[in-house]
């Protein structure tokens, strides 16, 4: 039978979304969707040694758009960037105990926003050499 309405887990993430907000000076930033279509998601990530140490999101959209964004940030926190690129929409949906069929695209968008943020991080690293060298240049790091 098709799922009717949202799971308790979706509603719980919708009412208490994790990691809401923005990050000043993020290592990666991803933006997907379009307000015209009714969904817009932004992800901000901080990376240390290729691991996502902090992640924040902002979402304009329906209940599942907000819940999937929240779930993605929860899944991605502490994840290696290469692992994060492998997160799929079905991972996100199944972690939320499923989504109604017409809402599956929302989970796609949330994973896409994360992937865009990681890609942004990787392209910045390439052009600036930031990332691998950064820990050594970090003053707080050298004091320890």
């Amino acid at each position: 039978m098709d799922q009717i309405g949202y799971s308790k887990k979706v509603m719980e993430h919708f009412m208490n979304p994790r990691n809401v907000g923005t990050i000043e000076d993020p290592d990666g930033h991803g933006k997907v969707g379009n307000p015209v279509c009714g969904d817009l998601m932004e992800m901000f990530i901080k990376i240390k040694k290729e691991v996502i140490t902090d992640i924040k999101f902002q979402t304009f959209g329906c209940g599942s758009a907000i819940a999937t964004s929240s779930m993605v940030t929860e899944l991605a926190k502490g994840m290696h960037v290469d692992e994060a690129m492998k997160l799929t929409r079905s991972d996100v949906a199944s972690e939320l105990d499923g989504l109604p069929p017409q809402k599956m695209h929302c989970s796609n968008l949330a994973a896409d926003a994360l992937h865009e943020a990681v890609k942004d991080y990787k392209s910045k690293k390439k052009t600036t050499g930031k990332g691998s060298k950064r820990p050594r240049k970090d003053s707080r790091q050298s004091k320890r």
């Binding site: 009412m15 809401v20 015209v36 902002q58």
Partner: protein
């Protein structure tokens, strides 16, 4: 109720049961207890088929005709024979439009409707269009009022059916039906009016208004689901859509859904008796609600401010999305409606909100409140507080409100 209190607690809301505030009477209404009493009697005892000639059948037939008369009275129909029962307002709209257009095909192959009609009207019209009819869609202004000059220009002597709703269910705007009727009858043949949202809230007089075909719904009058009616002015030529045993003078075959029809009749009687008092009461609640909600920054009324159903308050909010509004309000145990794309099966925002000129991103942020018998002035502070909390929380989540 269990769902609300459990999740409410989980999600950090006040504990205990929150009183339900139902603000979605436009979607569905509870059956009036007086109607229910009658309906129960019919379900239990009056199982006859009105087409049977024996005494049990005749009793059913009598009930059917009584209901017909009560509905004719509500809209000042010429006599009870003007009322044809259907299974729903959607079916009545299909019968009116397809039935009249096909029966009068010799007089022309053009039909017209406003851009904000109910989907059952628009889809009936589009089916005719697929079959060679010309469809003229009449635009509305930013408040939802049909452009009379545009209507006048669009109609020709070949226009057999023009369909304009009495009042719109999504934005509450009441159309100038009498003026529209004059234009339609100057040029074309029949005016069909979908009065589903309007009946029971504003007085309808099919004779004074100049209406040829009019759609009514049982549940929208606090009757049971499963019955609708089409008023057909004497002399209007119609052909059936459903064929069979020739019930309803051949216009709608199928054994009549007697308990629902009897309930609809009773609901129409109650609506006729109590409408003006209830409408005045609801207008007061509506106006206060509109005034208070519009104090929220970035909130706008949709539809006309004064030419508006007494029970209707509809809004849009900048930077947030309607389905989220609906879900968040439901967590306060307040039920509302939205024209947002995400809440629809088509994933398109409401055609009504686009027709009044809203951009897609604006149409996504709509909230529709339709009041009814349970709503009271005393609920307003709770409603307004819930709307404020909802808008504030969702804006904090939204990247658009930066």
């Amino acid at each position: 109720m269990i769902w609300h209190s459990m999740l409410g607690q989980q999600c950090g809301f006040r504990d205990g049961d929150m009183e339900r505030i139902y603000l979605d009477y436009g979607s569905s209404k509870p059956i009036d207890p007086r109607v229910l009493e009658l309906v129960r009697r019919y379900l239990e005892h009056n199982y006859g088929n009105p087409s049977s000639l024996h005494s049990v059948g005749l009793e059913a037939k009598r009930a059917l005709e009584e209901a017909r008369a009560k509905i004719a009275e509500l809209i000042n129909g010429e006599n009870e024979r003007t009322i044809i029962f259907t299974g729903s307002a959607t079916e009545a709209n299909n019968l009116a439009i397809k039935g009249a257009a096909l029966r009068n095909i010799g007089k022309g192959k053009e039909v017209a409707a406003s851009t904000i009609e109910h989907i059952s009207v628009l889809n009936s019209m589009k089916e005719l269009q697929k079959n060679g009819f010309i469809l003229n869609l009449i635009p509305v202004d930013s408040t939802g009022i049909v452009g009379l000059e545009k209507l006048d220009k669009a109609l020709t002597k070949n226009t057999t059916v023009t369909s304009i709703m009495y009042a719109n269910n999504e934005i509450g705007t009441i159309e100038p039906i009498r003026e529209i009727s004059k234009i339609v009858h100057d040029k074309g043949l029949y005016l069909h009016v979908d009065a589903t949202a309007a009946a029971g809230y504003i007085p309808i007089d099919v004779q004074a208004d100049g209406i040829d075909l009019l759609t009514l719904s049982s549940n929208d009058l606090y009757g049971p689901h499963g019955a609708g009616a089409l008023y057909v002015k004497p002399g209007v030529k119609l052909q059936p859509v459903l064929l069979g045993g020739g019930q309803e003078r051949g216009f709608r075959s199928g054994t009549e859904n007697l308990f629902a029809i009897a309930g609809m009749g009773q609901a129409a009687r109650i609506a006729k008796d109590e409408m003006s008092q209830e409408a005045d009461r609801l207008k007061g609640v509506r106006d206060k609600l509109i005034k208070e909600i519009l104090t929220i920054e970035g909130s706008y009324l949709t539809g006309h401010r004064t030419h508006r159903l007494p029970n209707h308050a509809s809004f849009r909010f900048n930077h947030i999305e309607g389905e989220s509004i609906l879900l968040n309000m439901d967590m306060h145990n307040i039920q509302v409606s939205t024209g947002s794309a995400c809440s629809s099966k088509t994933l398109e925002p409401s055609h009504v909100l686009l027709a009044i000129g809203l951009k897609h991103e604006e149409a996504h942020g709509s909230m529709v409140l339709t009041l009814g018998r349970s709503n009271k002035m005393e609920e307003i502070p709770t409603i307004v507080k819930a709307v404020e909390e909802t808008v504030e929380r969702l804006r904090k989540l939204s990247p658009l409100s930066k």
